[in-house]
Structures are given as C-alpha cells and as structure tokens.
Symmetry: C2
Subunit: 235 residues, 2 copies
Amino acid sequence: MPTGTEHIVTAYSDELTGLAQLIAEMGGQVEVAIENGTKALLKLDRELADLTIIADQRIDDMQRRIDDMAVSMIARRQPMASDLRAIITSIHVASDLERVGDMAKQLARRSLKLEGMNLQPTFYNGVKNMTALVLRQIKEALDAYSNRDSARAIEVCNRDDEVDAMHTSLFRELLTYMMEDPRNITPCTHLLFCAKNLERIGDHATNIAERAYYLQTGKQLTADVQELQRTQIKA
Amino acid sequence: MPTGTEHIVTAYSDELTGLAQLIAEMGGQVEVAIENGTKALLKLDRELADLTIIADQRIDDMQRRIDDMAVSMIARRQPMASDLRAIITSIHVASDLERVGDMAKQLARRSLKLEGMNLQPTFYNGVKNMTALVLRQIKEALDAYSNRDSARAIEVCNRDDEVDAMHTSLFRELLTYMMEDPRNITPCTHLLFCAKNLERIGDHATNIAERAYYLQTGKQLTADVQELQRTQIKA
C-alpha cells in the first residue's frame, strides 16, 4: 500500500497551480472588462455597457472563490513560510483585480449617462491613449506576477509616472473644453471621472507589480529601489 | 515543570487580541486622517494638509505590520477555521482602512490645489454634510467589526444609500455652480473629486461592515439579507 505522501505533495502542488490559474483567469476577465468598459464608453454602446456591468458580478465571485481557496489551503496544508506568503499575496492580487473590475463597471455606467449628450470626438483622444496605456500596465503587471519577473515589475512601477502625467494633462484639457462652452461641462465632468478611473486602474497595476516584486525578491519595491534602478540604467 | 500548553494558549489569545488592537489603532488613525483631511480642505489649512499627507505613511506602515503579524500567526499557530477566518478578515479590513487613509490624503492634497481659488462658502455645505455622514459610517463599521455586532453592520450597509444620495445631489449642485460662472469650474471640479473620495470612504465602511457581518454570522450580507431586514423592521 502506498504511503500517500507523494500523492499529498502532488495534490498540494496542484492546488498551488490551481490558485495561480484562478488568478490568471480572473486577470483575463478583468482585462476584457477594461476593454469592454472603455469601448462602451468610446462608442456609447449600451449593450456592451450592460455586458460589462453584468460581468463584474462574475469577477466578484472569482475573488470570493480565490479567497475561499486560499483560506482552505492554509487551513488544510499548513504551508511553509514562502508558500504561505504566495497564498496570502494571491488574496491581495485578487482584491486589486476586483477593484479594477469595479472601475471597468464604472466606466460602463458612465457611458450610459453620456448618451444623448453633446460629445465632441476630440474629448475622447486623451481617454483613448490612457486606456491603451493602463491596459498594457495591467497585462504587464499580471505577467510579472505569474512569471515572478521582478525586472518587469520595476518597469510597470516606473511607467506609472507616465499614467499620472497623462492623467494630469487630460484633466487640464477637459477643463479647457468646459470653460469654452458651458454645454461641455456635464459630459466633460463625466470624462474627468473616467480619466480618474483609468488612473486608478494604473495604481492597481502598480500594486500588483509591487507584490510580484516582493514575492520574487523578498524586498519592498520602494521609491529608493526604483531610483537605484533608474541610476543603474543611466550609468 | 509545566507542560507549557496553557502558556502557549494564553500567548495565542494574546496575539489575537494584539491583532484586534492593531486594527482598532489603525482605525483610530484613519478616523483622525479623515477629520484632518476634510478640515484642511474646508479651512484651506496647509499645515494640517501636510500633517495628513505625512500621517498616511504611518497608516501604510500599520497595514504592513498587520499583514506581517497575520501571516506570522498563521504560520506559527496553524489556527483552526474560525480563527483563521478572523485573521484573514483582519488583512482585508486593514486593506480597506489603508485605502481610506489614501482618500484622506487625497482630500488634503486637493486643499493645497484649492488655495487662492475663487471659493464660495456655499460650495462647501454639501461636502461638510457628507464628511459628517461618512465619518459616522467608518466609526460604526469599526465598532460593528470590533464588537462582532451584526445588527450594527446591517445599519451601516443600509445607510450607504444615504451617502450615495448625498453624493448625487452634491454632484448636481456643483455642476450648477460651474454652469453659472466659468470661474467656478476649476474649484468645483476639485470639490467634485472630494465628494467622490468621501463617497468611496463610505463604500469602504460598507466593506468593513460586510466583513463584520460575515465574521459574526458566517453568511454574506447580500442585498437579499438587507431587504429581508428592512421588511422585518417594517412588519
């Protein structure tokens, strides 16, 4: 009769892989949500907006599943320090992804409010550029996390300055449209909030990248480390 | 020679109490941050704004301490299911509190941007009322959490509708000031974001209350439960 030790070890490693797969799947759903939420916004597509709003429930359910799986694994497997850290990190990453899903839902909801308003195509340029950038940030952060790639994690964190700069510039641009014509005030206010949502998606990407870095290196990715990295690149 | 079992049990219970105390302490710091952040905003008090921004670092450190303590307790104590759930919940609550601290910092930062702008005292009325309400929500949510008070948790969740209604009404009010006079556009846009920050603080209070409810009852505080509760109150 086999002792079952090997079986238990394999099952445990399967569970760890399963947890990682759940995170990857949730990440995929969140990326689609950002794409759909922003497309709904840019095309005022009511159907896509509704789809994004409904999809957010599935993302919330995914978070609960990841949470439950993590807790159950800890309770049954009593993992060692490094595995425990990885499992707890998956709880944090799922929490960030849940909030990104929420941002995508908010973008979709804004699109419903914008229907029938006086929208100029130029209002959208900045939003489009920001969308492309934050979508890339989320993808790269998830890659850094799943591949334990600390170099890529640093790149994501450094690029957050670009997101912030783009947000500031879009903020100013939208204000000028509002000052030019009072009819622009309501639609541009909604777009200001969309820009803010996109900026926050960028912040969550940074959070995920910071967690990926910590998992890989055991060190916090502080401003110091980023600065050191920049100096090394320049040198 | 004592077996040490009693000692270990006491030390474990001390650690659980210690973790709860850390959360309470962090909650206290966050409440002060909301008070200071909004006071800085309403009085354009630069010193208080700086203080709130600096204090946010301590709040972030608290989150890391709670995280580390929780992970270390799980690793060393291998807690049973109910304790494990409580410890994991403390990680989630600390994460919500960290974000509330971040909102307070953002309120303080806005106050620095508003300096020297054309601000009418009437712009502030809605912000003042919302501040009082969300501060109450955070306090009550933390009470519900520390006292495992599910009835109070339900009250907090139900009252979130009031926060949302207040936010919607403030949003509309600020838009009218912007339409009346283009000079109001920039300051009122900043106040729109302050109102949004306050609304999000309310959302985090709801999250904490939902976690408190789950810890006490083992059930998710869904819309159904809230609806049932309302019906029971009316009946």
